[in-house]
């Protein structure tokens, strides 16, 4: 970090043992940077357990809006040695480490000499002066605020705002503790290094600070979603909780089922009545929903299923991101049926796609899957306010009683070129009908007559063409004339956009495509790939699932898979280095 250059883009980490409350320090920092007009990207790194295990919060504050965390960490607030040891390699050369030395002094063996360490026994002081270890958090904020040359009033106001839910008797000692922190910073020898940072004050239009799960739930509701049924699972639970909080007031229902099988089947039942319905889960739970998804496709029941993917296989790493369910989402569930799989890239996109999926499910009367990964689902970032006016619920082929009365004959599975049959929901006079997951005739009565079967398979398959033109298009960027392409989705979106910017800046022309519709594979994707000499497909899994998908559906042969499956997102710098090196070699004819 060169001080002048970096204050427009700073990455901070606060780390301690899970459950010790240290993460509130990050909340005050967000408040502070937010007020100063920075954009934020926040992520957490926790073990799948309640207490104990390293829990770290990371935040990138930048003047330009960014979709991923920074390459290196500039400031660390650490409440134990393990936190510093873990993060050592990821520090920028001139990083500052603020360390709680209550237990023992910092062992700085794995830190570069250029890293500056400020050691204060926060915990000890907090217990000594205020009788409670927890106050160490406010104290550490006091230190940092001094370090950043924030004046006391502004800093205290941020702290008060963040802690405004606390009762006065808890708030006050926190303020005291904060003030103590500032005093230590002033008095202590750390002052000798000066206060290195001067934060910018930027004007930024109003934004939202929100994570992907909440935004999906919101998009669903905005498109008329009024029924949700789910089962708690990391990292999807926020969707259940958000809708439990907001749907009842909108006259809707959001309920917790006894398991994922119940969740998707309760959802199917509700959806049959015409209410727009979603369920959400994460990878193992999605595995369990496969039979229900196939049923949604077969019985022609509109349903949105969100999969907030976590690292697999099986129970895997519940709190880590991965994009390793791509092939599963496209191929799971027995037999063949039409489905749409959409992949938003950030919370703003999550809102849009949450809404789009809800309408698309009505329009295809079948399953629409929203694929996010833990990073998109749980990382919060600043995005421009949602365009509420752009969302209007779409009724698909739903019929009113009047429309039904005008028909000579009503068959639930009427054949027609769009594949989407007019639909009268239960309760509609004269619309009595049969819904089934068996192969059937137009009335819904079971049949295996080959000719009928073929007609029904074709009818269902036709639905995709019916909506193809309205499937979410990808986002393209970079140098549109470049012969080298980058493709990614979800958590890669911010990384590939930034990597493209840097590559172009350093003379390696690239363009990128953030894919938003994974299935069906859109023509635009094939065209993008064909327009390039070769394309890097960046994804967080080991097998290169997205690359295989694109390859298998167009036989391109010019895809290069860049994968990673260790639970840690690609850093922009790594991607830039990898592609730049590879390209340099290619130009010299060393690689194919």
């Amino acid at each position: 970090m060169t001080i002048s250059a970096k204050l427009d883009d700073l990455t901070i980490m606060v780390a301690g043992q899970g459950g010790d409350g240290s993460l509130t320090v990050m909340n005050v920092l967000s408040e502070l940077f937010g007020r100063r007009g920075y954009h934020l990207y926040k992520s957490r790194n926790v073990a799948s357990r309640i207490k104990g295990g390293i829990a770290a919060a990371q935040m990138r504050a930048s003047v330009i809006s960014r979709g991923c965390t920074g390459d290196q960490i500039d400031l660390v607030v650490a409440f134990d040695q393990e936190a510093v040891t873990n993060v050592g390699a990821d520090l920028s050369p001139d990083a500052v480490v603020v360390f709680d030395s209550s237990d023992k002094p910092l062992d700085r063996r794995n830190l570069a000499d250029s890293v500056r360490v400020i050691e204060i026994p926060f915990g000890r002081y907090a217990v000594r002066d205020l009788r409670r270890d927890l106050f160490k958090n406010s104290m550490s904020f006091g230190v940092i605020s001094q370090l950043m040359n924030i004046d006391q009033d502004e800093a205290e106001d941020c702290l008060r705002h963040t802690l405004h839910r606390l009762p006065e008797r808890v708030l006050l000692p926190n303020i005291d503790s904060f003030a103590d922190g500032r005093k230590f910073a002033l008095a202590d020898k750390i002052a000798s290094g000066g206060y290195p940072w001067h934060l910018e004050r930027v004007t930024r239009a109003k934004h939202l600070m929100i994570n992907g799960n909440d935004a999906i739930a919101f998009g669903f509701m905005a498109a008329g979603g009024r029924f949700f049924c789910g089962y708690p699972i990391t990292p999807a639970t926020e969707i259940l909780e958000w809708l439990q909080k907001h749907l009842p007031a909108m006259g809707g229902v959001a309920m917790q089922a006894e398991d994922e099988l119940a969740a998707i089947n309760i959802a199917l039942g509700a959806a049959m009545t015409g209410v727009r319905t979603m369920t959400a889960t994460s990878s193992p739970g999605f595995s369990l929903m496969a039979e229900g998804i196939s049923h949604s496709g077969s019985a022609e029941i509109p349903l949105v299923i969100t999969n907030s993917q976590r690292a697999g296989p099986s129970t895997g790493m519940p709190t880590k991101p991965e994009q390793s369910d791509i092939a599963m989402m496209i191929h799971c569930g027995n037999g063949e049926f039409p489905r749409v799989v959409l992949a938003p890239g950030d919370p703003g996109d999550c809102f849009k796609i949450g809404a789009a999926a809800t309408n698309l499910a009505q329009r295809i009367q079948g399953p629409v899957i929203i694929a996010v990964d833990q990073a998109v689902a749980q990382d919060a970032r600043s995005v421009t306010p949602f365009d509420l006016e752009a969302v209007e619920p779409h009724d698909g082929a739903r019929m009113s009683e009047d429309a039904l009365q005008a028909m000579a004959t009503y068959r639930r599975y009427e054949l027609n070129p769009s594949g989407v049959s007019p639909w009268a929901v239960p309760g509609t006079k004269g619309g009595m009908s049969l819904v089934t997951g068996n192969e059937r005739n137009e009335w819904g009565l079971v049949t295996t007559v080959p000719a009928k079967r073929r007609e029904m398979m074709e009818k269902r398959a036709a639905k995709i063409d019916h909506v193809r033109a309205d499937l979410p298009k990808g986002i393209r960027g970079g140098d549109r004339a470049a012969r080298v392409g980058i493709i990614g989705c979800g958590m890669q979106s911010g990384v590939i956009a930034e990597a493209s910017e840097r590559l172009n800046a350093r003379g390696t022309p690239v363009q990128y495509l953030q894919v938003r519709t994974l299935w069906p594979v859109l023509d635009e994707t094939a065209e993008f790939i064909r327009s390039c000499d070769h394309v890097y497909v960046v994804e967080h899994n080991g097998e290169g699932q997205l690359a295989h998908l694109l390859d298998g559906h167009g036989a391109f042969g010019n895809l290069r898979s860049l994968t990673k499956n260790d639970g840690v997102p690609f850093r922009c710098a790594d991607l830039v280095r990898h592609i730049a090196t590879f390209e340099a070699n290619t130009m010299h004819g060393d690689a194919a």
């Binding site: 919101f218 006894e258 089947n265 309760i266 009545t273 015409g274 309760g427």
Partner: protein, 286 residues
């Protein structure tokens, strides 16, 4: 009038107990004047799972074992419908057992008709959880009424026998009334012999015992009902009739409270809700 689905003819073997069940449902719907279009019959998978094709109503063929979750979804999304779930003993007591426990617990106003023949009919005769002997194991059969009694919150537990139409009809009417009144989950187990794989008519005819006819029987006492059910079972008898009924609150009644509006019929046009949406968005402002 628009021509629409008309009930088809049952495809069951001649003599199958399921005929009686179908007739009882049809009769009960007529008895309470339930309009066809406000009725939804959901069925599981099995021979029993074709009953919806033979009843004038909206019909649905669920996944195996999942008829109760789908029925709950329908009921919550549109509490104005009469929702009848139906299925076999394999569907309800084997793959569906967990959902049954939670249906008793939640107590939604859904009628559940479980056709118990002691075997898996459609897959050709494997033993079900109510099979009386399962080789080579020592398992004892499940008793759905006893299970229902064990779950606080259950509100209507009855059993009938397909070979005794009058009692079956009466029980079915009572069940529909319980649900129609919003009193909760009406569970009716019908002993419904499978003539092809497990013909139990002779056996069961001699064992069914109407508790309603027992002196002083009190269907409002959970403890007494449990005692009667287990005492009769030890005597080799099959208790039938309305065995237990309570006033536990129904699941949907809780939802109906807070501005609940029949989700299936809410007008979701943007114009109506935009203010609410905006104020929620405002909370994320930054």
């Amino acid at each position: 009038m628009t021509i629409t689905f008309t009930p088809s003819h049952p495809i069951w073997c001649a003599g199958c107990g399921h005929f009686g069940v179908k007739n009882a449902i049809v009769n009960a719907l007529a008895a309470i004047d339930q309009p066809a279009h406000d009725t939804m019959v959901l069925a599981g998978i099995g021979c029993s799972g074709t009953i919806q094709n033979n009843i004038d109503s909206y019909g649905y063929h669920a996944l195996h074992g999942r008829v109760l979750p789908t029925a709950l979804g329908v009921k919550l999304a549109n509490p104005d419908l009469m929702v009848i779930a139906a299925g076999g003993d394999g569907d309800g007591y084997a793959i569906g057992a967990g959902h049954l426990v939670h249906a008793f617990k939640r107590n939604p106003s859904v009628v559940y008709v479980l056709m118990n023949n002691g075997i898996y009919g459609l897959t050709k005769g494997q033993r079900s959880p109510t099979a009386e002997q399962i080789d080579p194991t020592t398992e004892r059969s499940i008793d759905g009424i006893s299970l229902g009694l064990s779950i606080p919150g259950s509100s209507f537990l009855a059993r009938a026998y397909s070979g005794a139409a009058d009692q079956l009809n009466a029980v079915m009417v009572a069940a529909l009334q319980h649900a129609a009144a919003g009193r909760g989950f009406a569970f009716v187990e019908v002993m419904s012999p499978c003539v092809t794989y497990n013909d139990t008519y002779a056996d069961w005819s001699g064992r069914v015992t109407d508790v309603t006819a027992m002196e002083g029987y009190d269907p409002t006492s959970r403890i007494a009902a449990f005692s009667t059910v287990h005492t009769l079972a030890e005597q080799g008898r099959i208790p039938t009739g309305l065995i237990y009924q309570s006033d536990a609150p129904s699941y949907e009644s809780a939802w109906k409270k807070e501005g609940f509006n029949v989700p299936a019929r809410i007008d979701v046009s943007r114009s109506i809700h935009q203010n609410s949406y905006s104020s929620i968005m405002e909370k994320y402002a930054f």
